[in-house]
Symmetry: C2
Subunit: 399 residues, 2 copies
């Protein structure tokens, strides 16, 4: 497979004058998605009405789209299903992992670079369960040494949302397993960004969202992976009817479906799944190895250009391209205002408190010319102090 | 307010030749919803990209749509938020209710007519929590007598999904409170179907879905209500970042937002919320008392016509219109095939195992002529035995 990036770029319709380096937060609209959703609304919902569940295949969308996502993350066919939000899927994965872990173990290990929602969800779950369970967080680089036979579950986000720092999934999973630890991997900044090999790494559970590098749209559904060796034993904490073995038999008691389907909960969100399904078309004929090579080339170039042209910025991402995902982050004491000034000039990245500006590099639609132009504008803003204006310092509700 | 049903009917675009009596399962497409979603996709997601969260007001949609739903169920402004699926919201409401209940109490009381997913979710939650918690189900008519100071939480669906039997929310809530019981009401078949007065009834928690009588589309988001007197004390079991007091501060520990916003979990599903928001336009100028009066008139008429023309059908719904919601159900030993034959003739209702055919009556778009014609076709199918064909007996995956 040889990925043709000139072709993939034509699948996205970016606004005139915008250089979009925020696909690590919300991917752009794929051209096919609007048409697909319009058809689902008027032809399927509008004409088929309730019959859409059968005749338009709505009920199977979570599994079908799950397999398309699964291909990009090295999952076995039939081991991924879609639905809910990432936070809900973290809850299910962690609860199931704790169930499979040694009963005597009390510690869930994570790192301080994990996305806060994952940590919040873990706090809530462990608090509900009681049993003396403890959430322990260490610095990302201290995770490996913190593994011990006291740990029940290792729960990590593979790519750090702030810095792009990359964990070594294969090595950490192997070491965890040698110590009897169950693993939960959050692939929010991995799926569609870097090659992931869940099967090869022997991962136990994985979750992720689809509105970043997979371009599923704002609030598009999450995914969950359960290793086939666990899937028929995992107890879904959220035991909803669509995870039942026979949802439409309306039995009185819950009996989990076979495999990962038991991680389904409620009625699937059809409009959102249809948009995501259309977005997944952009990945046909795309090799993740090509994405990785192009992403590394572009991020290296960006780092080199910034080092030369923007002395006020400190690189916050690992300098080694093998040690980071598909984003580049820099620190600036007035990072928020700098990013607002950039956005006003059409270069869209984002800001993460307290001082980090982030640029997501998605080779499906980001070009070398985009990188060059973005850095030139960034340098100009820093050189001229153009960021130092009240309207750029005023914080919006959502940053 | 005087509801003009001739006008509300024009807001829905039903297929030629279809009489739609399944709005209790999936409401039809409101004309405005397809346009609204198309605009959100191309103008907001496509053009604003990540900026849509602020400048298109995406982040506030759960609260804004929540207030629109809240008006129909007698909720205080600011006491309803949208997101996730009904099963997930049942989990949150029940977990929070258990937290507020007397610690010494061990029983969650429900009824055998509750929707299975609610019972499955409760089984899963109670199983996870341990502590000797027990889910007890009694027959719907035995609920009142089963209330005692042993009960922690009373969890009921107000309108029985099979028969349409209606619980007396005000009386049961009052009696529950007198015994120190916390209440969770599922309004799946109530919201948009019958007048609900959560505030007047003093309800503690309520949840519901929006794809039935509210016409939000397949898999549209659920709602959750927390009585303002509890909202700042309720601990959301799913403590996701968007329920945090300052989601974008990325703090290390969870601090719940004030009020019902703490029941938000992950990133809101914008396409689905936009469709639902457009669907809520149909309720402007509509009085639930008018909906109730018209629904009772139409369901009474249907029952009378069926009694006359279809002797093979047994009424499964309460005969007293005050004792049922906005649906009529009948039993027939070959109910599944009868319903398939009806659907083939353009009369769409649905079937619930083992022998029930259901007809949802939504006055927003169902007319007296629809009811008359539907019963005439039903009578003809039963008289001629037209249902007794292999293609009508063959079960589809989703019924």
């Amino acid at each position: 497979m040889h990925t043709d990036f000139t072709q993939t770029r034509t699948l996205f319709d970016l606004p005139e004058g915008v250089i979009y380096l925020d696909g690590n937060s919300l991917g752009p609209l794929p051209r096919g998605a609007a048409d697909r959703v319009a058809r689902v609304m008027t032809e399927e919902w509008g004409q088929l009405l309730i019959r859409g569940w059968n005749s338009a295949g709505w009920m199977d969308l979570p599994a079908r789209v799950g397999d398309r996502v699964g291909r990009l993350i090295g999952a076995e066919p039939g081991s991924v299903t879609m639905g809910d939000t990432l936070s809900v899927k973290v809850y299910q994965a962690l609860a199931s992992a704790l169930d499979l872990a040694d009963e005597g173990r009390r510690v869930v290990l994570s790192d301080t670079g994990n996305f806060p929602s994952d940590l919040y969800i873990a706090e809530g779950l462990l608090g509900s369960l009681g049993r003396g369970l403890e959430l322990r967080t260490v610095a990302p680089e201290a995770v490996e040494d913190a593994l011990s036979d006291e740990i029940a579950v290792l729960m990590l986000t593979e790519v750090d949302y702030r810095t792009g720092r990359l964990h070594d999934m294969a090595r950490l999973t192997e070491k965890a397993h040698a110590l009897g630890i169950v693993t939960v991997w959050d692939l929010a900044h991995s799926a569609g960004a870097i090659p992931v090999d869940l099967r090869g790494a022997g991962a136990d559970f994985a979750v992720g969202c689809t509105y970043k590098y997979l371009n599923g749209g704002p609030g598009s559904p999450a995914f969950i992976y359960v290793a086939p060796r666990h899937a028929d034993r995992a107890r879904p904490a959220l035991s909803g009817w669509l995870g039942h073995d026979a949802p439409f038999a309306f039995e009185r008691h819950y009996r989990p479906a076979a495999g990962v389907s038991r991680m389904r909960v409620g009625t699937p969100p059809i409009l959102a799944l249809a948009a995501l399904d259309a977005a997944m078309d952009a990945w046909e004929g795309v090799a993740m190895a090509d994405i990785r090579a192009e992403s590394q080339r572009l991020t290296q170039r960006m780092i080199a250009l910034v080092a030369e042209a923007c002395p006020g910025l400190a690189l916050a991402s690992p300098a080694d391209p093998a040690a980071r995902g598909s984003q580049v982050s820099f620190r600036h004491p007035e990072g928020y205002a700098v990013m607002q000034a950039l956005i006003a000039r059409g270069v869209i990245g984002d800001f993460r408190a307290p001082d980090m500006i982030r640029f997501g590099v998605a080779p499906l639609y980001v070009t070398q010319a985009d990188i060059d132009r973005a850095v030139a504008i960034l340098a100009e803003i820093l050189d001229t102090g153009a960021w130092d204006r009240p309207e750029f310092r005023a914080r919006a509700a959502v940053t």
